[in-house]
Symmetry: C2
Subunit: 500 residues, 2 copies
């Protein structure tokens, strides 16, 4: 006889398998699919979205959950496998049952087409090609928020963000972001009046093949397992894990931006190491999934910034770039070049400090779009106005402005703040790792990234969704989330580099 | 109100969409997936196979078919859209309902794993690694044949072959193959005692990148539309069409076998042009699908052999290989080199004449395997014995012998003869095309492949599955299928080349 819990897990795994098939289709769409495939791909994704939604909202799941919740043996220990799975599946079921299946299908179809138009608009620097599709996406997202609902002290954005970072609210984000913005602006202002470290690493031109070969080598050296993953190129780098045994990362190249590509690759490698570190035995259940986007981003940011922009890393890596790519810059020059603070237009190329200001622009806009205070047509103007105010830059065209990110074209509103939350989590966790694993700098200097990866595997990755993000943060670091560690990290690195 | 026919077509299209998603997963498995992905991929394919089988065998389809068949307006004209769709959907439904869904699922899972072991066995030249999986595949195929059933004058192989080439029976194949074998062996024997044309085109070493770039250019020049398709590399080249707007072909390279790679690419391009020539409006229904594997193969063989091994083609192409690749051979030398008759081990590298003898070996073995007269363990010996007898060659190892083809590892028994049927159809159709489109040789000499592609698009591709293969052959050529045109073609080309 199959217990209610066994049946619940079996049906959950089957639906997850279907979702992982959708992920493969999504990966192919972004990396390999020819233009002529767009219509059929959107049909495939819409159909699979409908099927997975039907399964995820099957009333039988509600019955099984009620039976499981009533069974003390399953739920007595709140962090047991069964209790954690039941808790997360209840949350997912409650959210999924609020969305009608035709709405889910319309979302999937519209987003696939909108993303295609976004690509064209971006290539042609013509926002008007994307505007009607952005408007459709905004309307669909607000409808989605309406289906989820929100409390009287909440707002539509909160209903969507809950899907990315459990428990996060616009008000809280704002309460962390506003003071962070003040201190960052002060730091950036101090740096801009200081002596800029001299560096020429951004003027190096290298063929794409050589860059790909090198970033692949570094990805492997820091811990990505290529027998369980691969790397490709896309307009907007991403990571997609179908299973711990099959994790796909992407990156992008320009002839003369090698160090940006390396940073982007280490970023996606961090996501990939997290996905590869989930436990295969739990695959298809909440315990086998990354806990949240913010925690996911903490992993990418840790490898990109706390490893890839450290002096110790470049002590090890400089001889490699010299030997493999003929780059003559010293480790100090590269370290300085990787840490220049230079307010600019493009989020994914932004420095570690101003990056968070890019996020704040997007957060404010999407909050207003979801509240109905702005429409799609307002986006370019409002975007450019904030870039001038926060970063002091004049956005020259929409491809370098509001068309730069894929997220809204895919209907993801409420997602952006998880990037800065990731920076905050990463700083706080890395301070704890420094206490735990001995001389991190000495390890990096000799190219030994095993202790760091091992700590993350053991303390974070293998737990999957066992703990909710705020709880996980406290368990890992002994403290609630705070931007203090991030500011300590940035000020402690940047002020000395600029001679302050 | 939705009519029975409309409902039938809508549900058919939805199931086809699901199948096309499976095709994407299959393509990814062969071209891009890392080794660690095999388990999850087999779970995904097994689940989707189960879902599509459930849909294809839904009793509601039987009800709808019965209603449609009773409606004279739909079926009066046997070649109308509705009559052809109803006829083909009836056939598919009857075949699908004979297979239990757990058997379908077991097939999909086992084949995915068996293919992985085949790849390993082939790489290590060790048949024993594949033997248990081949035995499993044989057992599953015989069980499948049992579910389909066969008449008293038929045999298990027939039940499987029906899925690839409607109406084809082992007895008929044998009755075409035995005399074809006699005349081919006589031709090959005559050629082997004649003066071999001197040529050195098979000693040229070229980097893979340059080869890929060139074969892609030729694929495009002869008619493959890269805005609706792409090309990649695999161990065993194939073509997979998800939709006329998204057709994927693959090829393979060795440093010193450029002309083989070009031929393989033109072969898959022929398949791809057929898939791109199906009508998008019919996508997801029998009218939007290739009619059979034999007819499909006629398209690949036509572009590979009737175009790519013709003197006229090389009059056009020789200056291109000279310019792009630095190949100094004359058009005559290349023409001779592409048409050398040289009995060898590898089917996909075989010359146009002996190729058919490779197929006969496989046909005889799989017929015996399905009858239970042979088991997996007998395959290497029986394979090698026939290669000695028919082709006069000693197979040095199983990687060059019975491990060379992917088909049996994927559970495809009854498939191989469609290759030689394709050669026969191609020759017969090409004789008609020569009558219809003017001076074909002059067209090829100036690189104009539009008239040939146009004829095929208009007379063959756009019909999809409207006519059954034997009917289509008669409509296209005015004659029933016969090996005479193929023998005229081979003897007319090869005897003069060898000075006979």
């Amino acid at each position: 006889m199959t217990s209610a819990y066994e049946e619940l897990i079996a049906t959950t795994k089957e639906t997850s398998t279907l979702r992982s098939a959708m992920s493969v289709l999504g990966w192919d769409q972004r990396t390999k699919m020819p233009p002529g495939g767009v219509e059929q791909r959107s049909n495939q994704l819409a159909l699979l979205a409908k099927l997975t939604h039907e399964r995820a909202t099957d009333p039988r799941i509600g019955e099984l959950l009620a039976q499981c919740e009533a069974d003390k043996d399953l739920t007595a220990d709140p962090h047991s496998d069964s209790a954690a799975n039941i808790r997360e599946l209840r949350r997912a079921y409650d959210r999924a049952t609020k969305l009608p299946s035709d709405h889910v299908e319309e979302n999937a179809r519209t987003h696939a087409i909108a993303e295609h138009h976004w690509e064209e608009a971006r290539a042609k620097k013509d926002f008007s090609l994307f505007e009607p599709w952005l408007e459709k996406n905004i309307g669909l997202a607000r409808t989605t928020a309406g289906f989820y609902g929100w409390e009287s002290d909440e707002e539509p954005w909160d209903a969507l963000a809950e899907g990315y970072e459990r428990g996060m609210r616009a008000r809280q984000v704002d309460s962390v972001f506003v003071p962070l913005r003040d201190r960052l602006q002060a730091l950036v202002s101090d740096l801009s009046s200081a002596r800029k470290p001299s560096t020429s690493i951004h003027d190096i031109t290298l063929p794409t093949d050589a860059q790909m070969s090198f970033v692949t080598k570094i990805s492997e050296a820091i811990g990505f397992d290529f027998s369980r993953g691969r790397i490709d190129t896309t307009v907007h780098p991403f990571c997609s894990g179908f299973h711990p045994g099959d994790v796909r990362i992407t990156t992008r190249f320009s002839d003369n931006k090698f160090f940006d590509s390396l940073a982007a690759t280490m970023h996606e490698t961090g996501h990939g190491i997290y996905e590869q570190g989930l436990l295969p035995a739990y695959n298809g259940t909440p315990l086998g999934r990354a806990v949240s986007l913010g925690i996911h981003e903490s992993q990418s940011r840790m490898w990109e910034n706390f490893v890839g922009r450290s002096r110790a890393f470049w002590t090890w890596c400089q001889p490699l770039v010299a030997n493999d790519l003929g780059i003559t810059a010293s480790a100090d020059d590269i370290y300085a070049g990787m840490n220049l603070v230079d307010p600019s237009f493009i989020r994914v190329e932004a420095d570690e400090a101003t990056y968070n200001l890019h996020i704040m622009v997007r957060f404010e806009l999407e909050r207003a779009l979801m509240n109905g205070d702005l429409g799609a047509a307002d986006v370019p103007h409002e975007w450019n106005r904030r870039y001038k105010e926060y970063l002091g830059v004049d956005v020259p065209d929409d491809a370098l402005g509001c068309l730069q990110d894929v997220h809204w074209s895919g209907g993801s509103f409420g997602y952006f703040p998880t990037y800065t939350l990731g920076n905050i989590y990463a700083a706080q966790i890395f301070e704890k790792i420094r206490e735990d694993i001995g001389d991190v700098d000495a390890q990096f200097e000799r190219g030994d990234f095993g202790p760091l990866k091992g700590w993350l595997n053991e303390n974070l990755h293998r737990h999957g969704g066992r703990y909710i993000p705020s709880e996980l943060c406290e368990r890992l670091t002994g403290k609630p989330l705070s931007a203090d560690a991030l500011l300590r990290h940035l000020e402690g690195k940047l002020r000395p580099l600029y001679g302050l």
